[in-house]
């Protein structure tokens, strides 16, 4: 019986660092680490030298000094006497506001356009194709400028809303679209309106509880509840009852023409509308394509199988097609939301005061802290992106096909 030969014991040679695949990756990583370190040292050294030559230092103390400029759209109170940090927060809130509303509107238009593009109606499908291609193949900046030009150039001046003027308010004299902005009614919360809101919120909780109960009941007994009608009733009846019982505490303050401009109501600036609409329209074209791809990705056999089981068309859509299509749709959809959020930095084109124009614009100009300002701005966007993509990963892993 032959002895099992021992593999020859090699002594380590230096050339193995290059030619032996066991060690080569180590060599490459060490070299890469050294290069990266050298690059970082060089960058930091250059920055320090350059800053010293300009007589600057690095510090974030400027955030707590007086900003000295006004912001024309504020979600939290802000005056020019407040600090740069507060100005940055106002800007961040403005960015998040336009991004949030943009995501909602883009989803609504996008889903509609995507579904209609698959319509059997030839004309509708063509119209949606033209819409999607026109939006996707032209820069967003042009759309923002066009919508802004429409809002400022093609809308009437406030004085034309006077008696005998050429313009009039729409929606029963409650909304005025003028070249200074869109004026909508402002809700006035009198005493007791808190209760109405509380009742309304409770009834929404109630709707969710009802749906949960209805599903449990159906799974246990097979009987279905008329969920839709009960939900609608829950949505309206308690809140309306509370509203009248409390003596109609919530009222609307309508915008009225006074002097050269509107008073009362809420002014929505044209810069906001332009940015919001353009971002939504542009992103909706991409969402339409995502939705279309998602629906097409569910194979026809799934529908047929569902019909074979005796499910009705709307149940088929709800229980078979949508859950599968959503798995394809949601990840790119969220990355479109991310794009929309980042694209909201194009606010610069219309003078909307987002975080880039407060923290990354006026604050930098006034304090001369480019490095710190851009760093904070970058970190804000980075954190937003990372949070959104973390949510996406969470969703992905929850709907992933469970295989093997």
């Amino acid at each position: 019986m032959a002895d099992v030969t021992e593999p020859p014991r090699e002594s380590f040679r230096l050339s193995q660092l290059l030619y032996d695949s066991r060690y080569r990756s180590l060599t490459i990583q060490v070299v890469a680490a050294m290069l990266i370190m050298a690059l970082l040292v060089e960058l930091v050294d250059n920055t320090v030298t350059n800053l010293a030559a300009l007589g600057k230092d690095i510090g974030f103390g400027f955030l707590w000094t007086t900003a000295g400029y006004d912001i024309n759209q504020q979600l939290i109170p802000f005056s020019s006497q407040d600090t740069h940090a507060r100005a940055a927060v106002v800007g961040i809130l403005n960015t998040l506001l336009v991004a949030f509303l943009g995501c909602i509107l883009a989803t609504v238009i996008g889903v509609l356009a995507g579904v209609l593009r698959l319509s059997k109606n030839w004309l509708i499908a063509r119209i949606m194709t033209v819409y999607v291609e026109a939006m996707r193949n032209t820069p967003l900046l042009i759309w923002i400028l066009i919508v802004f030009a429409v809002m400022t150039e093609a809308t009437p001046q406030p004085r034309e809303f006077r008696e005998g003027g050429s313009a009039s308010m729409i929606l029963w004299d409650s909304v005025a679209i003028s070249n200074r902005g869109v004026y909508i009614p402002r809700p006035v919360w009198a005493e007791g309106s808190g209760l109405v809101v509380a009742v309304f919120l409770l009834s929404i909780v109630g709707i969710f509880a009802l749906r949960w109960y209805a599903r449990r009941r159906q799974e246990a007994t097979g009987q279905q509840l008329p969920v839709l009608w009960i939900s609608l009733g829950l949505f309206f009846v308690p809140a309306l009852l509370a509203y009248f019982v409390m003596g109609r505490p919530v009222s609307l303050e309508y915008p009225e023409l006074g002097g050269f401009n509107f008073t009362g109501g809420v002014q929505i600036r044209n810069s906001f509308i332009a940015l919001w609409l353009a971002l939504s329209l542009y992103t909706s074209a991409f969402i339409a394509e995502i939705v279309r791809a998602g629906i097409l990705a569910v194979s026809k056999g799934q529908t047929e199988a569902s019909f074979a089981l005796g499910l009705q068309p709307n149940r088929t859509m709800q229980l078979i097609i949508l859950p599968q299509a959503l798995r394809v749709i949601i990840p790119p959809l969220i990355s479109q939301y991310l794009n929309l959020t980042k694209n909201s930095s194009l606010a610069i084109a219309v003078g909307y005061m987002d975080v880039r124009s407060t923290l990354g614009g006026i604050t930098i100009n006034q304090t001369g802290r480019e490095l710190e300002g851009m760093l904070l701005l970058g970190i804000f966007y980075l954190i937003t992106s990372l949070i959104i993509s973390a949510l996406m990963n969470l969703y992905n892993s929850s709907v992933k096909l469970k295989e093997r």
Binding site: Q29, W122, I127, N137, P139, L145, R356, Y381
Partner: protein
């Protein structure tokens, strides 16, 4: 049996009747309309609503477009002509007619000497000849007036074709250089021209001495040759190293803007060659670049440079070496997490802080670098998707054939992965091309910036739609071509027949 049957039946048809035509409602246009537009009540309603929609949009836009006024000197004149003709609405296309050269080329200078000597020779002689008008001692006001009069006389079309022959030729050659890459039926030898094209384009667009781009090209070829020779003698890794060393030795100070090199070899060689044989074009600084030309320059360079970088980043992200993977992930996520505008501002405001003291280089070059890095991070993610979609068996097959990492990637993995990711890659390119409009915010004169400049003049104050439509159409044509090409490529490369 058959006999009796034949006898008992009075008549039996022995030929086939020709098929009757389908009923009138089942053919042609009527059937198509019924099936595609009015298949159900709801569909019919939708059709009527959309016809109304189309009609209301077209009735607003078409008269405005078609009745447009092409000949006018200012917006005021346009309005006067409109009222004179009794039109309620009319576009003022005159602004495009007058300013299209500016939207296309920005303030890129025309070749006035060529125009003058070819198309304006009599007037040139009257003004005292080439030397008197364009020579060093010429009076600049007189020269500006002469050039303005000349351009007005010979017309925009001639100025377009001959005054801007440099960017036009660069564009034409770009088409030639790109064609063999896009269409594999063209002769493969054209690819050599594609390789040489960047140097030709730089020479044509920026001008200066021809020896600059030539010596850079020769230096690159030399470095590659050194690398090849060393690689053949002592292995791929040492060859790569030798190539890098050769590049450093030749190029450490490649361009005149940064005087930091150890061996400022190239400027000297260029200087000597230029003194011996001065061949060149008028040098044009990047500040004069503008218009749609700028979008094409930034877009094309970004596309060409970001693809290889993106592939390398994607491979790095898949790497089994933790450090390399970590570096690539950080780079990709940081770049993708921050909007392009912020990066462009970084390039214009902050880059000087990070560079060695005293260096300062071209804003256009900085923008191209930033756009390239930005697009490469997005491309990396797209390519990573392609790499992940490839079955693991392909990687294992490449390994079992004994291919090393780069060969396996080059021959087996990447061709398939890139094929899968074509739509994503082209989408990224389209996005990059559209994003070139953002450079307006850091002071480059892109087409949208020029629309502002045109609106700022007294003649065209208050004109919006015509300019936006023109610029939008320019971008649309290019982006639409790219998206159609990607569909063609997908169909062509589809090897699984489903």
């Amino acid at each position: 049996m058959s006999d009796t049957h034949a006898h008992s039946v009075a008549f039996a048809r022995d030929t086939m009747l020709p098929p009757a035509p389908p009923p009138p409602g089942e053919t042609g246009a009527i059937r198509w309309i019924r099936e595609n537009l009015f298949s159900s009540w709801s569909n019919g309603l939708l059709t009527i609503v959309s016809i109304y929609l189309i009609w209301s949009i077209l009735s607003a836009i078409l008269p405005w477009t078609l009745q447009g006024i092409w000949d006018a000197g200012s917006l005021g004149e346009c309005r006067a002509i409109r009222d004179e003709r009794g039109l309620s609405t009319a576009a003022c296309w005159a602004v495009i007619n007058e300013r299209w050269l500016q939207i296309l080329f920005g303030f890129y200078p025309t070749d006035n000497q060529l125009l003058a000597s070819w198309f304006y020779s009599d007037e040139l002689a009257a003004a005292g000849g080439l030397e008197a008008v364009f020579g060093p001692g010429s009076n600049s006001t007189a020269r500006i007036e002469f050039i303005a009069a000349m351009k007005a006389d010979i017309g925009n079309l001639v100025v377009f074709f001959f005054g801007y022959w440099r960017p036009l030729m660069a564009l034409a050659l770009l088409v030639v250089a790109v064609a063999p890459i896009l269409y594999s039926s063209l002769p493969r030898k054209l690819l050599w021209f594609s390789l040489a094209y960047p140097f030709v384009a730089v020479f044509l667009l920026w001008g200066g001495t021809i020896w600059g781009p030539v010596s850079v090209a020769v230096g690159l070829v030399a470095a590659i040759l050194v690398g090849r020779v060393v690689a053949a003698a002592s292995g791929a890794l040492l060859g790569m190293l030798a190539g890098i060393v050769a590049v450093l030795a030749i190029f450490l100070n490649p361009l005149p803007f940064a005087d930091i090199g150890l061996f400022p070899l190239l400027p000297h060689v260029t200087g000597v060659l230029n003194a011996a044989m001065p061949i060149g074009l008028e040098a044009i600084p990047s500040d004069d670049f503008g218009g749609f030309m700028l979008a094409i320059i930034i877009g094309t360079s970004g596309i060409v440079l970001s693809l290889p970088l993106g592939i390398v980043l994607a491979l790095g992200r898949q790497s089994s070496m933790p450090l390399i993977k970590w570096i690539c992930v950080t780079f990709i996520e940081v770049i993708r997490g921050v909007p392009l505008i912020v990066w462009l501002f970084t390039a214009s405001l902050l880059l000087n802080y990070f560079l060695p003291p005293g260096t300062n280089f071209d804003l256009l070059l900085r923008v191209i670098i930033m756009v390239t890095l930005f697009a490469s991070a997005y491309l990396a993610e797209v390519v990573r998707g392609g790499l992940a979609a490839l079955p693991k068996g392909q990687y294992e097959a490449a390994d079992s054939l004994g291919l090393d990492y780069w060969k396996a990637m080059r021959l087996i993995v990447l061709p398939q992965a890139l094929k899968i990711s074509i739509p994503g890659i082209v989408n990224t390119f389209i996005g990059l091309f559209k994003d070139t409009t953002l450079v307006v915010f850091i002071g480059l004169r892109d087409p949208l910036g020029l629309t502002n400049a045109i609106r700022a003049t007294a003649e065209w104050n208050g004109i919006y739609w015509e300019l936006y439509i023109f610029v939008g159409l320019l971008f649309f044509v290019f982006c639409f071509f790219m998206s159609r090409y990607s569909m063609y490529l997908e169909r062509k490369l589809q090897t699984d027949r489903r």
